[in-house]
Symmetry: D2
């Protein structure tokens, strides 16, 4: 039975990547691309695009785009960080785990105007648990300018 | 000189509405419409749309869309709430004020999955000042189900 | 066996009250008193006292006192709100539940200086669940002046 | 006139230290001591004490104490970080600046139970400005165990 199929760590990471990058229309709309993804790290990129502009005179990223990218970076990292702690690696249990993943709360600190051509989001887990995980995220532009910090609390397992 | 043109309260509200609804591409992309706007209240609506979906199986609004709409509701209300306190009503001073408006930090509490056909964001000012204003926001669906709370701190004037 | 003793709702509320008000030294130090407590409401009071002052010239409550009182109001309400959902009312299970209660994150919005003789904290549950609950809290002084808002995310059960 | 007395950077740091450590009764109650303080860094310590306990069985620091210490670390750093940007170094202007300092909002992420004998709070400025500054804070125990993160938004100048 396919539900009892065992998944490797990489298969699970690929599964999550596919889910977030190819099956979530809003992430595609923002043009998110994943450039690094392990059970302890993540790097997401988006390119500046006219439709992502919040302020036409200043040509800066909309704060909602920043929030979206940081939330996805935190959520994907939480999903990946849970993998080494999973007792079962069947596809069924893994999918069940993923279904319960959700953002409880998100804080974004906007440090500087979102100028740039390409933006990179990274995340780190600061609290992990079998019910709740907390991450901190950062958004930088292609020159390394730090644009925003995020803090996210996620429901897991 | 046009810069010294005096604006009425309604002209200023219309100006802000035009800026947020017609000149910010990302707000247009999300399909935001303003259905109430005074110096003490705001109501923004968006319709569910395939491109705004965060989870294709559950067909719910992406958390980043929620954050975006709440941030805009808070920011627009802060801009409107500053009008009665303005010493000068010239277009020049008003535009200068608007330029300095920015989100310092935003917290979103996701209460329930974002199911629905139409979503309504409202906001109230909980702290006003000549440097910083704080608002609380809410997102409900068309059945009155409460989907998210927001808290935003904004730089003003 | 005492561990299998059944507790009534009121006995559980009394148990939580005793734990927070009489067995937590820091709550006693702040002089917290509970003036209303049900499974859906809470009211905590503290009196202004020289030792709680944060600013000697302005004679206002220290922001840390505000955070403390709001956190306790939220945490106690979360503990009470879980009672009607408990499958078992044995003392043992109830105590086990209480032990896992903890604050995950807390946001305080300071609205006005903490002037006053007596301060009242109230709370409401905005998200309840079997793993995580979220509350919003308010602090007012004896004249009804609104001093602070809080938002707390708590681990439960 | 004393109000026009010029203060050196070190005199200003000493002035702020005296204000926070000796003139704020609640900080003294918590036993705060400052062990490092420059215009770009701060280290505050408190010792565990029975009266600071939040949970008598687990003997851990009350979450309100954590919030208090992090808020003070952030606020003091913001006050110090403003010094190099001050146009005037008269005592009068410096005192006026200090008076307008206040916490707008504070988020605390509680990562682990507050076990320990001695706790150290540190802070860094992540956004500085002439109206608002944002800091991130951390609390560790004497073994380097990371107990809490904080994020604070402060009104300045």
């Amino acid at each position: 039975m396919i539900a009892e199929e065992q998944l490797s760590e990489q298969q699970m990471l690929d599964y999550i990547t596919d889910m977030f990058m190819n099956q979530m229309p809003f992430n595609e709309l923002l043009g998110m691309k994943i450039t690094d993804y392990t059970t302890s790290s993540i790097e997401l990129k988006i390119n500046m695009d006219d439709k992502l502009i919040g302020n036409p005179i200043r040509k800066i990223l909309h704060g909602g785009v920043t929030a979206s990218v940081l939330d996805v970076a935190g959520g994907m990292l939480v999903a990946a960080a849970a993998i080494p702690q999973m007792e079962s690696c069947t596809r069924k249990d893994f999918e069940k785990n993923l279904k319960s993943l959700g953002t409880i709360d998100l804080r974004v600190d906007y440090l500087r105007p979102g100028w740039g051509d390409e933006f990179t989001a990274t995340a780190q887990v600061i609290r992990s648990g079998n019910k709740v995980a907390v991450t901190r995220m950062e958004l930088h532009n292609q020159e390394g300018i730090h644009i925003a910090f995020g803090t996210g609390t996620y429901l897991v397992g």
